[in-house]
Symmetry: C2
Subunit: 339 residues, 2 copies
Amino acid sequence: MKVALDAMGGDFAPAVNVEGAIEAARENRSIRVILVGDESAISRELKDRKYPSDRITIQPASEVVTMAESPSIAIRKKKNSSIHVGVKLVQSGEADGFVSAGHSGVVMATSLLFLGKAKGVDRPAIATVMPAIKGAFILLDVGATVDCKPENLLQFALMGNTYCRMIMGKKNPRVALLSIGEEDIKGNEMTKEAFKLIEKTDVKFIRNIEGKDIFTGKADVIVCDGFTGNITLKVSEGLAEAILKMLKKEVSSISAGKIGYLLIKPAIRNFKKRTDYDEYGGAPLLGINGTSIISHGRSSAKAIKNAVTVASSISEKKVHEAIATAIASDLQEREHTVS
Amino acid sequence: MKVALDAMGGDFAPAVNVEGAIEAARENRSIRVILVGDESAISRELKDRKYPSDRITIQPASEVVTMAESPSIAIRKKKNSSIHVGVKLVQSGEADGFVSAGHSGVVMATSLLFLGKAKGVDRPAIATVMPAIKGAFILLDVGATVDCKPENLLQFALMGNTYCRMIMGKKNPRVALLSIGEEDIKGNEMTKEAFKLIEKTDVKFIRNIEGKDIFTGKADVIVCDGFTGNITLKVSEGLAEAILKMLKKEVSSISAGKIGYLLIKPAIRNFKKRTDYDEYGGAPLLGINGTSIISHGRSSAKAIKNAVTVASSISEKKVHEAIATAIASDLQEREHTVS
């Protein structure tokens, strides 16, 4: 599979992007990476490295979208940005998927604009992998569709289920609806309606899940609107950071604490590794007619490598087509039930 | 001030409730507590303890609302429940405020039914105190009003501001709107409208705050709808628990870890204490015409003591009247601007 990688996106671009691309290509011989961006900057990064030059190429793009830019202006004005050029490669079929650690709003809007939605999909969703005490789960949507209708949540459930099955290797994912109580009747107007819709699908719907239970590992796919999902994701990131800071402060305020902290430091490192987005690489934009992955701005080479590998896998397995099929067959089933 | 305390609510009732009541009365001579519930059970708890008997009395209530009950049925059928009788004491003026660690939905609905809303308030909000790296903040609403209009969020900002000033001693609280980006235009339709409304008030509005920043301590009052707030609160509780579990597991998997863990244990204890709801006691139901505090089901004696003390303080300072005044003067100002 050919993955177009935005070489200019992210806090440590293009160095980690180029390194991640090389690692991905080295680890998997079926992966080709097209590095999209400033040709001379990319060439400089490639120069002293050993890499499979037949599978790593450059596609020049003269502009870069900065994080402060407004998506609508960036999309209209920067037609030579690495994001624009990269997504266009997927549209034309020259690449199978796109990965960017750049401006997530622009990546999302550009992908939607040029690749379009998968057949039958009303609104797209960004799915992010989060660690649980046991295993991991995906949360969607975390920001693509901020104002949702119940039908959108239904489609997110089908999309998340398909992704989890095909890419995360779960045979029969447990799908839950994020709400404010376990009982069926708990929720806001949107989730209560969505509950009834998801209940009728053939996904393994384990009903509502409360905020306090999402990290227990009892669900594989957790569905919510993009506003709630984004807050959930960001609150989790912020709290994990705050807890480690507070713990460190408490530890250094007691006499034996510093020695104790040194002794448990490898454990904290392991913990951080386990909860790090690096491991998961990026968040796929589901529901579009193609492959597009949004990576964290702070992505390391490892995160980029993982994102490129996942993008290749999504493209190879044609997840977007499977999503369209899942939505079509759900619709058919519901029509069948009605008639 | 006279506080009616639901002696039967919570996982460890009536023992911790009675103990908390005694501690509150002992610490503050102006506090009287009316223990509401099963007279013989309460008497048994009081029997072997030393307590100021002139300031701790019993109000019999023969029924108890269980956690599994539906609020609407409990309210209609259990007219002798400790919650029903306790709130009625506030309604009749025999008590100044009510505290319960029982069924939060029933406490909320019963309080709203018998005490009514404060003048000018459209919908009530539950405000909860949460710890930040520096200090603490209040988040509201965390579950009273699940489906909100922008105007509700405006009122929550005014209510939270008033509460924070009067009870938490902040002169000029920094009020923020929970959203998915710092920029003014980020949010869902409801928060974008609410932003414009709050901007026009005279609260110190520090604009949008993202999920990742709520624990930094940059805001004193964080406003959101009851669905988002409940998820935020519960995700935080669940994640804090999950992180400590995961850390402990990582620690015990490395050789020096166990010794290290023993050495930092006092620090973890301090951390837990700092992040424990016990310290804050309970969450006030703001916007009603009186004082009602919802405490955590797992409340300890200390949590109950703190909740009773806060209830006394809210009643003494007439926070509900101040909220009505704040809402009226905001309305007046807006009408003035229009005309």
